[in-house]
Symmetry: C6
Protein backbone atom coordinates (compact mmCIF):
# COMPACT_ATOMS: atom_id res chain seq x y z
CA UNK A 1 0.00 0.00 0.00
CA UNK A 2 2.96 2.29 0.64
CA UNK A 3 3.99 1.87 -2.99
CA UNK A 4 0.47 2.59 -4.11
CA UNK A 5 0.54 5.73 -1.97
CA UNK A 6 3.85 6.82 -3.48
CA UNK A 7 2.46 6.32 -6.94
CA UNK A 8 -0.52 8.51 -6.13
CA UNK A 9 1.70 11.15 -4.58
CA UNK A 10 3.70 11.20 -7.76
CA UNK A 11 0.53 11.52 -9.85
CA UNK A 12 -0.54 14.54 -7.87
CA UNK A 13 2.74 16.25 -8.68
CA UNK A 14 1.75 16.12 -12.33
CA UNK A 15 0.10 19.15 -13.86
CA UNK A 16 -3.65 18.95 -13.36
CA UNK A 17 -4.51 22.64 -12.96
CA UNK A 18 -2.97 24.68 -15.76
CA UNK A 19 -5.62 27.41 -15.57
CA UNK A 20 -8.86 28.49 -13.90
CA UNK A 21 -10.24 29.77 -17.19
CA UNK A 22 -12.97 27.72 -18.84
CA UNK A 23 -15.08 28.18 -21.95
CA UNK A 24 -18.46 27.95 -20.23
CA UNK A 25 -19.99 28.16 -16.74
CA UNK A 26 -20.70 24.44 -16.93
CA UNK A 27 -17.04 23.62 -17.54
CA UNK A 28 -16.28 25.92 -14.63
CA UNK A 29 -18.62 23.88 -12.46
CA UNK A 30 -16.82 20.72 -13.56
CA UNK A 31 -13.52 22.32 -12.56
CA UNK A 32 -14.98 23.19 -9.14
CA UNK A 33 -15.82 19.50 -8.72
CA UNK A 34 -12.26 18.53 -9.63
CA UNK A 35 -10.85 21.02 -7.11
CA UNK A 36 -13.13 19.61 -4.39
CA UNK A 37 -11.98 16.09 -5.11
CA UNK A 38 -8.31 17.13 -5.12
CA UNK A 39 -8.87 18.66 -1.69
CA UNK A 40 -10.00 15.27 -0.44
CA UNK A 41 -7.20 13.38 -2.16
CA UNK A 42 -4.64 15.52 -0.33
CA UNK A 43 -5.51 13.85 2.97
CA UNK A 44 -6.44 10.44 1.58
CA UNK A 45 -4.17 9.89 -1.42
CA UNK A 46 -5.15 6.23 -1.75
CA UNK A 47 -7.71 6.18 -4.57
CA UNK A 48 -8.79 2.64 -3.68
CA UNK A 49 -9.64 3.72 -0.15
CA UNK A 50 -11.62 6.71 -1.43
CA UNK A 51 -13.55 4.47 -3.82
CA UNK A 52 -14.29 2.01 -1.04
CA UNK A 53 -15.78 4.74 1.16
CA UNK A 54 -17.94 6.17 -1.59
CA UNK A 55 -21.02 3.93 -1.20
CA UNK A 56 -21.07 4.89 2.46
CA UNK A 57 -21.06 8.66 2.17
CA UNK A 58 -22.97 8.70 -1.12
CA UNK A 59 -25.97 7.52 0.89
CA UNK A 60 -25.52 9.97 3.73
CA UNK A 61 -27.47 13.14 2.91
CA UNK A 62 -25.31 15.25 5.23
CA UNK A 63 -22.13 14.14 3.48
CA UNK A 64 -23.69 14.86 0.10
CA UNK A 65 -24.69 18.34 1.22
CA UNK A 66 -21.20 18.97 2.62
CA UNK A 67 -19.60 17.98 -0.69
CA UNK A 68 -21.99 20.32 -2.48
CA UNK A 69 -20.86 23.13 -0.14
CA UNK A 70 -17.21 22.60 -1.02
CA UNK A 71 -18.05 22.64 -4.72
CA UNK A 72 -19.99 25.88 -4.19
CA UNK A 73 -16.96 27.46 -2.53
CA UNK A 74 -14.66 26.50 -5.40
CA UNK A 75 -17.26 27.58 -7.95
CA UNK A 76 -17.13 31.08 -6.44
CA UNK A 77 -13.41 31.17 -7.19
CA UNK A 78 -13.68 29.77 -10.70
CA UNK A 79 -16.60 32.04 -11.59
CA UNK A 80 -14.72 35.13 -10.38
CA UNK A 81 -11.65 34.03 -12.34
CA UNK A 82 -13.76 33.91 -15.48
CA UNK A 83 -15.46 37.26 -14.93
CA UNK A 84 -18.63 35.21 -14.49
CA UNK A 85 -18.57 34.38 -18.23
CA UNK A 86 -20.48 37.63 -18.73
CA UNK A 87 -19.77 38.15 -22.42
Amino acid sequence: MADNHDAKAKDSRDAWLPSLITETPQEGFALAITLSQKGVAVTQPDAEMRKEKRPEYAQDPDSLIAVSHVIATHFQTVAAANGYWRE
Copy 2:
Protein backbone atom coordinates in the same frame (compact mmCIF):
# COMPACT_ATOMS: atom_id res chain seq x y z
CA MET B 1 -29.06 0.25 -11.78
CA ALA B 2 -25.76 0.60 -13.62
CA ASP B 3 -27.71 1.49 -16.76
CA ASN B 4 -29.78 3.95 -14.83
CA HIS B 5 -26.55 5.45 -13.52
CA ASP B 6 -25.11 5.69 -17.00
CA ALA B 7 -28.23 7.41 -18.21
CA LYS B 8 -27.93 9.98 -15.42
CA ALA B 9 -24.25 10.48 -16.14
CA LYS B 10 -25.15 11.11 -19.75
CA ASP B 11 -27.84 13.62 -18.74
CA SER B 12 -25.37 15.55 -16.65
CA ARG B 13 -23.11 15.90 -19.68
CA ASP B 14 -25.90 17.80 -21.38
CA ALA B 15 -25.90 21.57 -21.18
CA TRP B 16 -27.69 22.68 -18.06
CA LEU B 17 -25.72 25.83 -17.22
CA PRO B 18 -25.43 28.06 -20.28
CA SER B 19 -25.11 31.25 -18.23
CA LEU B 20 -25.15 32.71 -14.71
CA ILE B 21 -27.16 35.70 -15.89
CA THR B 22 -30.81 35.85 -14.90
CA GLU B 23 -33.57 38.40 -15.39
CA THR B 24 -34.42 38.85 -11.72
CA PRO B 25 -32.97 38.13 -8.26
CA GLN B 26 -35.63 35.49 -7.78
CA GLU B 27 -34.56 33.61 -10.90
CA GLY B 28 -31.02 33.94 -9.59
CA PHE B 29 -32.11 32.29 -6.37
CA ALA B 30 -33.70 29.48 -8.36
CA LEU B 31 -30.40 29.03 -10.22
CA ALA B 32 -28.56 28.86 -6.87
CA ILE B 33 -30.90 26.02 -5.89
CA THR B 34 -30.16 24.19 -9.14
CA LEU B 35 -26.41 24.58 -8.56
CA SER B 36 -26.76 23.18 -5.03
CA GLN B 37 -28.67 20.17 -6.29
CA LYS B 38 -26.13 19.55 -9.06
CA GLY B 39 -23.42 19.54 -6.41
CA VAL B 40 -25.24 16.71 -4.65
CA ALA B 41 -25.92 14.80 -7.86
CA VAL B 42 -22.19 14.71 -8.58
CA THR B 43 -21.61 12.29 -5.71
CA GLN B 44 -24.96 10.52 -5.86
CA PRO B 45 -25.93 10.44 -9.53
CA ASP B 46 -28.80 8.02 -8.94
CA ALA B 47 -31.91 10.21 -8.90
CA GLU B 48 -34.01 7.40 -7.42
CA MET B 49 -31.67 7.12 -4.46
CA ARG B 50 -31.73 10.89 -3.90
CA LYS B 51 -35.54 10.87 -4.01
CA GLU B 52 -35.66 7.98 -1.54
CA LYS B 53 -33.49 9.85 0.98
CA ARG B 54 -35.48 13.05 0.73
CA PRO B 55 -38.19 12.32 3.35
CA GLU B 56 -35.40 11.55 5.80
CA TYR B 57 -33.35 14.72 5.52
CA ALA B 58 -36.35 16.92 4.76
CA GLN B 59 -37.39 16.33 8.37
CA ASP B 60 -33.97 16.92 9.86
CA PRO B 61 -33.64 20.62 10.70
CA ASP B 62 -29.84 20.47 10.58
CA SER B 63 -29.88 19.03 7.06
CA LEU B 64 -32.36 21.68 5.96
CA ILE B 65 -30.16 24.43 7.38
CA ALA B 66 -27.09 22.93 5.69
CA VAL B 67 -28.87 22.90 2.32
CA SER B 68 -29.85 26.52 2.87
CA HIS B 69 -26.17 27.34 3.50
CA VAL B 70 -25.09 25.81 0.20
CA ILE B 71 -27.79 27.76 -1.62
CA ALA B 72 -26.58 30.95 0.11
CA THR B 73 -23.04 30.30 -1.10
CA HIS B 74 -24.15 29.82 -4.69
CA PHE B 75 -26.47 32.82 -4.47
CA GLN B 76 -23.40 34.96 -3.65
CA THR B 77 -21.86 33.87 -6.93
CA VAL B 78 -24.99 34.33 -9.02
CA ALA B 79 -25.73 37.72 -7.47
CA ALA B 80 -22.19 38.95 -8.14
CA ALA B 81 -22.42 37.66 -11.72
CA ASN B 82 -25.54 39.75 -12.23
CA GLY B 83 -24.13 42.92 -10.66
CA TYR B 84 -26.73 42.35 -7.96
CA TRP B 85 -29.49 43.23 -10.44
CA ARG B 86 -28.92 46.84 -9.41
CA GLU B 87 -30.57 48.58 -12.35
Copy 3:
Protein backbone atom coordinates in the same frame (compact mmCIF):
# COMPACT_ATOMS: atom_id res chain seq x y z
CA MET C 1 -50.61 16.53 1.92
CA ALA C 2 -49.77 16.35 -1.76
CA ASP C 3 -52.31 19.12 -2.42
CA ASN C 4 -50.88 21.13 0.41
CA HIS C 5 -47.43 20.66 -1.13
CA ASP C 6 -48.70 21.80 -4.52
CA ALA C 7 -50.18 24.89 -2.95
CA LYS C 8 -46.85 25.73 -1.34
CA ALA C 9 -45.01 25.09 -4.59
CA LYS C 10 -47.37 27.51 -6.28
CA ASP C 11 -46.79 30.12 -3.57
CA SER C 12 -43.07 29.93 -4.08
CA ARG C 13 -43.54 30.72 -7.74
CA ASP C 14 -45.00 34.06 -6.71
CA ALA C 15 -42.70 37.04 -6.64
CA TRP C 16 -41.05 37.34 -3.25
CA LEU C 17 -37.66 38.76 -4.24
CA PRO C 18 -38.09 41.74 -6.53
CA SER C 19 -34.78 43.32 -5.48
CA LEU C 20 -31.79 43.03 -3.17
CA ILE C 21 -31.81 46.78 -2.52
CA THR C 22 -33.04 47.94 0.88
CA GLU C 23 -33.31 51.32 2.56
CA THR C 24 -31.23 50.46 5.61
CA PRO C 25 -28.75 47.82 6.83
CA GLN C 26 -31.41 46.56 9.20
CA GLU C 27 -33.86 45.92 6.38
CA GLY C 28 -30.99 44.21 4.59
CA PHE C 29 -30.55 41.94 7.59
CA ALA C 30 -34.27 41.15 7.50
CA LEU C 31 -33.94 40.26 3.82
CA ALA C 32 -31.01 37.95 4.67
CA ILE C 33 -33.30 36.17 7.15
CA THR C 34 -35.97 35.77 4.47
CA LEU C 35 -33.43 34.34 2.03
CA SER C 36 -32.24 31.83 4.68
CA GLN C 37 -35.79 30.70 5.33
CA LYS C 38 -36.53 30.36 1.61
CA GLY C 39 -33.47 28.12 1.34
CA VAL C 40 -35.00 25.82 3.94
CA ALA C 41 -38.46 25.92 2.36
CA VAL C 42 -36.99 24.66 -0.90
CA THR C 43 -36.33 21.24 0.61
CA GLN C 44 -39.24 21.21 3.06
CA PRO C 45 -42.06 23.12 1.36
CA ASP C 46 -44.64 22.07 3.95
CA ALA C 47 -44.96 25.07 6.25
CA GLU C 48 -46.82 23.01 8.86
CA MET C 49 -43.92 20.57 9.08
CA ARG C 50 -41.40 23.41 9.41
CA LYS C 51 -43.49 24.97 12.19
CA GLU C 52 -43.74 21.63 13.99
CA LYS C 53 -39.94 21.21 13.98
CA ARG C 54 -39.27 24.71 15.25
CA PRO C 55 -39.51 24.09 19.02
CA GLU C 56 -36.99 21.29 18.57
CA TYR C 57 -34.21 23.16 16.79
CA ALA C 58 -34.97 26.47 18.49
CA GLN C 59 -33.66 24.88 21.66
CA ASP C 60 -30.58 23.34 20.09
CA PRO C 61 -27.70 25.84 20.30
CA ASP C 62 -25.87 24.23 17.39
CA SER C 63 -28.89 24.59 15.12
CA LEU C 64 -29.31 28.20 16.18
CA ILE C 65 -25.67 28.94 15.41
CA ALA C 66 -25.98 27.20 12.03
CA VAL C 67 -29.00 29.32 11.13
CA SER C 68 -27.07 32.42 12.14
CA HIS C 69 -24.26 31.34 9.79
CA VAL C 70 -26.62 31.07 6.83
CA ILE C 71 -28.01 34.52 7.60
CA ALA C 72 -24.44 35.87 7.76
CA THR C 73 -23.70 34.43 4.33
CA HIS C 74 -26.79 36.02 2.79
CA PHE C 75 -26.10 39.29 4.59
CA GLN C 76 -22.72 39.44 2.80
CA THR C 77 -24.57 39.32 -0.50
CA VAL C 78 -27.25 41.85 0.44
CA ALA C 79 -24.70 44.24 1.96
CA ALA C 80 -22.51 44.10 -1.16
CA ALA C 81 -25.60 44.68 -3.34
CA ASN C 82 -26.33 47.84 -1.38
CA GLY C 83 -22.77 49.15 -1.48
CA TYR C 84 -22.80 48.59 2.28
CA TRP C 85 -25.28 51.47 2.65
CA ARG C 86 -22.23 53.74 2.80
CA GLU C 87 -23.90 57.05 2.00
Copy 4:
Protein backbone atom coordinates in the same frame (compact mmCIF):
# COMPACT_ATOMS: atom_id res chain seq x y z
CA MET D 1 -44.47 33.07 27.41
CA ALA D 2 -46.39 34.12 24.31
CA ASP D 3 -46.53 37.67 25.69
CA ASN D 4 -42.85 37.55 26.43
CA HIS D 5 -42.24 36.43 22.84
CA ASP D 6 -44.34 39.29 21.48
CA ALA D 7 -42.38 41.76 23.54
CA LYS D 8 -39.11 40.41 22.12
CA ALA D 9 -40.49 40.50 18.60
CA LYS D 10 -41.37 44.14 19.11
CA ASP D 11 -37.88 44.89 20.44
CA SER D 12 -36.32 43.44 17.34
CA ARG D 13 -38.35 45.83 15.19
CA ASP D 14 -36.56 48.70 16.91
CA ALA D 15 -33.54 50.19 15.21
CA TRP D 16 -30.39 48.32 16.22
CA LEU D 17 -28.38 48.51 12.99
CA PRO D 18 -28.28 52.08 11.72
CA SER D 19 -24.97 51.59 9.90
CA LEU D 20 -22.12 49.16 9.20
CA ILE D 21 -19.54 51.93 9.57
CA THR D 22 -17.41 51.92 12.71
CA GLU D 23 -14.53 54.05 13.94
CA THR D 24 -12.06 51.20 14.44
CA PRO D 25 -11.56 47.55 13.46
CA GLN D 26 -12.23 46.58 17.04
CA GLU D 27 -15.64 48.26 17.02
CA GLY D 28 -16.24 46.49 13.72
CA PHE D 29 -15.48 43.20 15.44
CA ALA D 30 -17.96 44.08 18.18
CA LEU D 31 -20.57 44.78 15.52
CA ALA D 32 -19.87 41.38 13.93
CA ILE D 33 -20.59 39.81 17.33
CA THR D 34 -23.88 41.70 17.57
CA LEU D 35 -24.88 40.54 14.08
CA SER D 36 -24.09 36.92 15.01
CA GLN D 37 -26.23 37.15 18.12
CA LYS D 38 -29.10 38.76 16.21
CA GLY D 39 -28.97 35.84 13.79
CA VAL D 40 -29.53 33.48 16.72
CA ALA D 41 -32.26 35.62 18.27
CA VAL D 42 -34.24 35.41 15.02
CA THR D 43 -34.96 31.73 15.62
CA GLN D 44 -35.00 31.83 19.42
CA PRO D 45 -36.42 35.24 20.36
CA ASP D 46 -36.81 34.31 24.02
CA ALA D 47 -33.80 35.90 25.73
CA GLU D 48 -34.39 33.86 28.88
CA MET D 49 -34.15 30.63 26.93
CA ARG D 50 -30.95 31.77 25.21
CA LYS D 51 -29.43 32.69 28.58
CA GLU D 52 -30.42 29.33 30.01
CA LYS D 53 -28.67 27.46 27.19
CA ARG D 54 -25.48 29.48 27.43
CA PRO D 55 -23.66 27.47 30.13
CA GLU D 56 -24.24 24.38 28.01
CA TYR D 57 -22.78 25.54 24.70
CA ALA D 58 -20.18 27.81 26.33
CA GLN D 59 -18.47 24.62 27.47
CA ASP D 60 -18.72 22.81 24.18
CA PRO D 61 -15.61 23.58 22.11
CA ASP D 62 -17.37 22.77 18.84
CA SER D 63 -20.16 25.25 19.60
CA LEU D 64 -17.61 27.90 20.53
CA ILE D 65 -15.74 27.35 17.28
CA ALA D 66 -18.99 27.51 15.31
CA VAL D 67 -19.90 30.84 16.92
CA SER D 68 -16.44 32.13 16.05
CA HIS D 69 -17.03 31.12 12.43
CA VAL D 70 -20.25 33.12 12.24
CA ILE D 71 -18.49 36.14 13.71
CA ALA D 72 -15.72 35.73 11.12
CA THR D 73 -18.29 35.73 8.32
CA HIS D 74 -19.92 38.91 9.57
CA PHE D 75 -16.54 40.52 10.18
CA GLN D 76 -15.78 40.04 6.47
CA THR D 77 -18.86 42.11 5.67
CA VAL D 78 -18.20 44.82 8.24
CA ALA D 79 -14.53 45.09 7.26
CA ALA D 80 -15.38 45.43 3.57
CA ALA D 81 -18.02 48.05 4.41
CA ASN D 82 -15.34 50.09 6.19
CA GLY D 83 -12.76 49.75 3.42
CA TYR D 84 -10.78 47.72 5.96
CA TRP D 85 -10.16 50.89 7.98
CA ARG D 86 -7.14 51.43 5.74
CA GLU D 87 -6.59 55.13 6.37
Copy 5:
Protein backbone atom coordinates in the same frame (compact mmCIF):
# COMPACT_ATOMS: atom_id res chain seq x y z
CA MET E 1 -15.68 33.08 39.16
CA ALA E 2 -18.00 35.98 38.48
CA ASP E 3 -15.18 38.37 39.40
CA ASN E 4 -12.85 36.50 37.14
CA HIS E 5 -15.40 36.83 34.37
CA ASP E 6 -15.70 40.58 34.95
CA ALA E 7 -11.95 40.93 34.81
CA LYS E 8 -11.88 39.14 31.46
CA ALA E 9 -14.72 41.26 30.14
CA LYS E 10 -12.77 44.36 31.09
CA ASP E 11 -9.66 43.02 29.36
CA SER E 12 -11.55 42.54 26.14
CA ARG E 13 -12.62 46.19 26.19
CA ASP E 14 -8.93 47.13 25.95
CA ALA E 15 -7.53 47.84 22.52
CA TRP E 16 -6.33 44.62 20.88
CA LEU E 17 -7.15 45.35 17.23
CA PRO E 18 -5.79 48.74 16.22
CA SER E 19 -5.46 47.78 12.55
CA LEU E 20 -5.82 44.96 10.02
CA ILE E 21 -2.62 46.00 8.27
CA THR E 22 0.44 43.79 8.76
CA GLU E 23 3.95 43.83 7.38
CA THR E 24 3.90 40.32 5.93
CA PRO E 25 1.42 37.58 4.98
CA GLN E 26 2.70 35.54 7.89
CA GLU E 27 1.87 38.29 10.38
CA GLY E 28 -1.51 38.48 8.69
CA PHE E 29 -1.99 34.78 9.34
CA ALA E 30 -1.08 35.33 12.99
CA LEU E 31 -3.69 38.09 13.15
CA ALA E 32 -6.29 35.71 11.66
CA ILE E 33 -5.50 33.29 14.49
CA THR E 34 -5.98 36.05 17.07
CA LEU E 35 -9.32 37.01 15.52
CA SER E 36 -10.47 33.36 15.64
CA GLN E 37 -9.54 33.08 19.29
CA LYS E 38 -11.28 36.35 20.15
CA GLY E 39 -14.42 34.95 18.51
CA VAL E 40 -14.30 32.03 20.92
CA ALA E 41 -13.54 34.21 23.94
CA VAL E 42 -16.70 36.21 23.27
CA THR E 43 -18.88 33.27 24.30
CA GLN E 44 -16.49 31.75 26.83
CA PRO E 45 -14.66 34.69 28.46
CA ASP E 46 -13.16 32.53 31.18
CA ALA E 47 -9.59 31.88 30.03
CA GLU E 48 -9.14 29.11 32.62
CA MET E 49 -12.12 27.24 31.22
CA ARG E 50 -10.83 27.62 27.65
CA LYS E 51 -7.42 26.30 28.71
CA GLU E 52 -9.03 23.36 30.49
CA LYS E 53 -10.93 22.34 27.36
CA ARG E 54 -7.94 22.60 25.09
CA PRO E 55 -6.50 19.08 25.56
CA GLU E 56 -9.91 17.73 24.66
CA TYR E 57 -10.49 19.48 21.35
CA ALA E 58 -6.79 19.58 20.44
CA GLN E 59 -7.05 15.82 20.01
CA ASP E 60 -10.28 15.86 18.04
CA PRO E 61 -9.44 16.10 14.33
CA ASP E 62 -12.85 17.56 13.49
CA SER E 63 -12.41 20.37 16.01
CA LEU E 64 -8.94 21.08 14.67
CA ILE E 65 -10.27 21.26 11.12
CA ALA E 66 -13.12 23.55 12.24
CA VAL E 67 -10.64 25.93 13.91
CA SER E 68 -8.59 25.94 10.72
CA HIS E 69 -11.73 26.91 8.77
CA VAL E 70 -12.37 29.91 11.02
CA ILE E 71 -8.77 31.03 10.61
CA ALA E 72 -9.13 30.67 6.83
CA THR E 73 -12.21 32.90 6.89
CA HIS E 74 -10.44 35.61 8.87
CA PHE E 75 -7.34 35.29 6.70
CA GLN E 76 -9.50 36.18 3.68
CA THR E 77 -10.41 39.42 5.39
CA VAL E 78 -6.90 40.27 6.54
CA ALA E 79 -5.40 39.41 3.15
CA ALA E 80 -7.92 41.61 1.33
CA ALA E 81 -7.24 44.44 3.80
CA ASN E 82 -3.56 44.25 2.92
CA GLY E 83 -4.08 44.12 -0.82
CA TYR E 84 -2.68 40.58 -0.57
CA TRP E 85 0.77 42.03 0.23
CA ARG E 86 1.30 42.17 -3.53
CA GLU E 87 4.17 44.66 -3.65
Copy 6:
Protein backbone atom coordinates in the same frame (compact mmCIF):
# COMPACT_ATOMS: atom_id res chain seq x y z
CA MET F 1 6.71 16.31 25.20
CA ALA F 2 6.84 19.86 26.50
CA ASP F 3 10.27 20.28 24.90
CA ASN F 4 8.97 18.83 21.69
CA HIS F 5 6.12 21.32 21.84
CA ASP F 6 8.51 24.20 22.40
CA ALA F 7 10.56 23.09 19.43
CA LYS F 8 7.46 23.10 17.26
CA ALA F 9 6.42 26.48 18.54
CA LYS F 10 9.82 27.80 17.62
CA ASP F 11 9.58 26.27 14.14
CA SER F 12 6.31 28.04 13.52
CA ARG F 13 7.94 31.35 14.28
CA ASP F 14 10.23 30.78 11.32
CA ALA F 15 9.27 32.30 8.00
CA TRP F 16 7.01 29.92 6.09
CA LEU F 17 4.77 32.40 4.26
CA PRO F 18 6.85 35.03 2.48
CA SER F 19 4.21 35.67 -0.18
CA LEU F 20 0.81 34.62 -1.52
CA ILE F 21 2.04 34.92 -5.11
CA THR F 22 2.65 31.68 -7.01
CA GLU F 23 3.67 30.89 -10.55
CA THR F 24 0.71 28.69 -11.39
CA PRO F 25 -2.80 27.87 -10.11
CA GLN F 26 -1.53 24.46 -9.09
CA GLU F 27 1.17 25.96 -6.88
CA GLY F 28 -1.54 28.20 -5.48
CA PHE F 29 -3.55 25.13 -4.60
CA ALA F 30 -0.51 23.64 -2.87
CA LEU F 31 -0.16 26.86 -0.87
CA ALA F 32 -3.84 26.62 0.13
CA ILE F 33 -3.10 23.13 1.47
CA THR F 34 -0.15 24.47 3.48
CA LEU F 35 -2.31 27.24 4.94
CA SER F 36 -4.98 24.70 5.94
CA GLN F 37 -2.41 22.55 7.69
CA LYS F 38 -0.89 25.54 9.48
CA GLY F 39 -4.36 26.37 10.76
CA VAL F 40 -4.53 22.92 12.34
CA ALA F 41 -0.99 23.09 13.73
CA VAL F 42 -1.90 26.28 15.60
CA THR F 43 -4.14 24.34 17.97
CA GLN F 44 -2.21 21.07 17.92
CA PRO F 45 1.47 22.02 17.57
CA ASP F 46 2.67 18.49 18.29
CA ALA F 47 3.46 17.02 14.89
CA GLU F 48 3.65 13.50 16.32
CA MET F 49 0.13 13.79 17.68
CA ARG F 50 -1.16 15.09 14.33
CA LYS F 51 0.51 12.20 12.51
CA GLU F 52 -0.96 9.70 14.96
CA LYS F 53 -4.49 10.99 14.34
CA ARG F 54 -4.16 10.96 10.57
CA PRO F 55 -5.16 7.32 9.89
CA GLU F 56 -8.32 7.98 11.89
CA TYR F 57 -9.64 11.04 10.08
CA ALA F 58 -8.19 10.02 6.72
CA GLN F 59 -10.79 7.26 6.71
CA ASP F 60 -13.67 9.44 7.81
CA PRO F 61 -15.38 10.88 4.72
CA ASP F 62 -16.83 13.80 6.69
CA SER F 63 -13.39 14.81 7.97
CA LEU F 64 -11.97 14.56 4.46
CA ILE F 65 -14.75 16.76 3.10
CA ALA F 66 -14.21 19.28 5.90
CA VAL F 67 -10.49 19.49 5.11
CA SER F 68 -11.37 20.03 1.45
CA HIS F 69 -13.64 22.91 2.49
CA VAL F 70 -10.85 24.64 4.40
CA ILE F 71 -8.54 24.27 1.40
CA ALA F 72 -11.27 25.75 -0.83
CA THR F 73 -11.55 28.76 1.46
CA HIS F 74 -7.81 29.40 1.39
CA PHE F 75 -7.70 28.81 -2.36
CA GLN F 76 -10.17 31.68 -2.77
CA THR F 77 -7.69 33.95 -1.03
CA VAL F 78 -4.63 32.74 -2.91
CA ALA F 79 -6.44 32.89 -6.27
CA ALA F 80 -7.60 36.46 -5.64
CA ALA F 81 -4.06 37.43 -4.57
CA ASN F 82 -2.77 36.16 -7.90
CA GLY F 83 -5.42 37.86 -10.00
CA TYR F 84 -6.59 34.33 -10.79
CA TRP F 85 -3.44 33.77 -12.88
CA ARG F 86 -5.38 35.29 -15.77
CA GLU F 87 -2.46 36.21 -18.02
